[in-house]
Symmetry: C2
Subunit: 356 residues, 2 copies
DNA sequence: ATATCTTTTTTACGTGCGGAAATGTTAGAC
DNA sequence: GTCTAACATTTCCGCACGTAAAAAAGATAT
């Protein structure tokens, strides 16, 4: 650690070079040449290139991340903020984002808000201090401190994903077209059974609100009376599943909604709804005698494995993640030739299974 | 961006100082004084402290992450590698790790292997170049390149979490005591019904193997004949749920295992098993007529919401995450007074629900 | 052999900040 | 009022590398 000659010869291993300087004397080329080798080997004569390559095979050297990033105009890093981790929707989104970014040669720095606006703000702060090339943010919801997003947006290439605060309508955004997706499944439910009621969530999430609005709008277009339940929180630390189950158990035990179609704001709520049905001896399904049908929204990976298998709208998570990175990278590279703001909405795909 | 005076006076906002130098002239103290203010304000005279604080309120300044980290002996960062994200067990583990690290004042850098040893290796490389103070690794499984872990272990404080390769038995480890947990549920299943069969996974995961072995051992101790199924992969890109469902559907359609207790290697496999049962009209459960019971392992958050609610062993994810950070931080601070290696195993807790 | 071009090396400076040593300041004791 | 200790602040160098310019070394053509 304190070797003055910047090397560390642990027996049995390759000698480790701590600095590029030490590496250069070990290989026998100058340090600037090495620097250029690491950035773009093609700018060196092939023979020199080969000599360096062979030298590198005989020692262990990994360039100092901070020193390299400090001077370069670009850090090659993209900051990603997601609201919480314990939701497979977001993990799949994150996965597609990471893979897409990796392909483009960027290092992704993930920060999770853990449902806490203060942590979200700190994450933004971290990105600013790390000079990330750009930021991809899935906001927390109504609790978010928008100034945080605005500051990021003002200081670096910035793209919102998944959910978009009303106040940030002029910011680039990639997500699902909830009007389309909700209409699609509303239409389907109207076609195969009674017009659905909507099992909502407390208003803490923009997508939830967007879907609720889309449901109401579509129902009216179809000449049906919209019915929304579940906007009141059951308890404070609610999980989506517990919320769905709690709301519906309340209704079922009053004998309400036992023979209707129920469109849930998302799959996790729907899984709770299925649970409530099961506990009340109800069998929701396509050909259900009672007429109870339950559908979700998102394409949660577990939908095919619950009983009955959950009919839902699958969001194109992979497409969204990839597109978000595409837009962000374009902004980073200054190839922003398109209309501004760039709003890209993906269509949802109907997945008909057993539950509706 | 190219301001030579290191400031940026965007109208309507606080003037932004790009460097500590600029900040120092703006406030009227020397740069090193500022430096010490940010590291430990108590080392400054209260009056100076107050002057700086007031100055900071009138401008916007965030110190450069790289520059600060480059010289400090400690970067204040902990690297965490997890094998994949699309599993709520790992997201919960990660959550508890992040919260624990945050409390200790560390910044967590998460890298996900995405089931790919090459990505895992690159993540380790990143940690080395970033000079993280220590690394917490949940290894990929049999596919992992152990040299990667060994290198990290040799070069920085290092702790394995969740799963431990056989070849790394001398490395600090925090995880669940699978002998205890598996025995606990095996005993329970033997007590309430027929001795269980074990629905395993292909041997790609150490915990899966450990549980399988624990099951076999415990069954023999109890004088029962162990039965293991599901060690052959159904298809290549198998999901855990699909694996459980596939294996059991094969058995059920041959009329096998329809009236036995089945202990699944984990909850995701068990959810697939429940699905298989449902598709064959079977109703696993505590007082099941046919005698079919299905139990899992892990404490997957969805267990209470599937039908029937899944009986399982809950791992103490929060405890594991917190303990792992504790050990790692101790190693980082050189307070490693205990026996080496530090092996810390947490007990699992039986969660009796409906399915068994 | 000389001129021209390409490649590499030398040299030197910059990045934003940490840290040790030197300098300045203050307060208490005489 | 001076001296000294104690503390506060500044000066200065260093970190590991990027980058630019100038000088040197090869390579190729004439």
């Amino acid at each position: 650690m304190d070797d003055t000659d910047d090397t560390d010869d642990t027996p049995g291993r390759k000698p480790r070079m701590a600095t590029m300087e030490a590496l250069s004397v070990a290989i026998g080329v100058s340090r600037p040449t090495l620097s250029r080798y690491f950035q773009d080997p093609s700018r060196l004569k092939p023979s020199t290139c080969e000599r360096i390559r062979q030298g590198l095979e005989r020692v262990e050297y990994v360039p100092n991340f901070f020193a390299t990033r400090m001077n370069r105009k670009s850090t090659g890093m993209i900051g990603v903020i997601i609201p919480y981790l314990n939701d497979l929707f977001f993990t799949r989104l994150l996965e597609s984002i990471e893979i897409a970014a990796m392909r483009r040669g960027y290092t992704v720095i993930v920060q999770c808000s853990h449902s806490d606006p203060a942590i979200e703000a700190r994450a933004a702060e971290t990105f600013l201090s790390m000079n990330v090339d750009g930021a991809l943010v899935a906001p927390l919801g109504n609790n978010s401190d928008y100034e945080v997003h605005e500051r990021l947006n003002a200081r670096m290439p910035f793209v919102l994903v998944d959910s978009r605060p009303r106040s940030m309508s002029d910011v680039d955004f990639v997500g699902t077209d909830h009007r389309q997706s909700t209409s699609l499944i509303t239409d389907y439910l109207c076609r195969v059974g009674q017009p659905p009621a909507f099992l909502a969530m407390p208003r803490v999430n923009f997508n939830a609100m967007a879907r609720e609005q889309a449901y109401i709008g579509r129902m009216k277009e179809l000449g049906h009376e919209p019915t929304v339940i579940g906007t009141e929180p059951i308890r404070d630390d609610w999980l989506f599943e517990a919320h769905g189950q709690g709301v519906l158990e309340g209704q079922f035990s009053r004998g309400a909604f036992t023979d209707r179609s129920i469109l849930c704001v998302n799959d996790r709520v729907a899984i709770g709804a299925l649970r409530a049905a099961a506990r009340h001896g109800l069998r929701p399904g396509q050909g259900a005698e009672g007429g109870l049908r339950i559908a979700g929204h998102d394409g949660y990976p577990l939908c095919p494995f619950v009983t009955p298998a959950l009919t839902t709208i699958a969001q194109d998570v992979t497409g969204i993640g990839r597109a978000a990175i595409d837009v962000l990278v374009k902004k980073i590279r200054g190839e922003n030739t398109e209309t501004s703001p760039h709003i890209q909405l993906f269509a949802g795909a109907l997945k008909v299974r057993e539950s509706a």
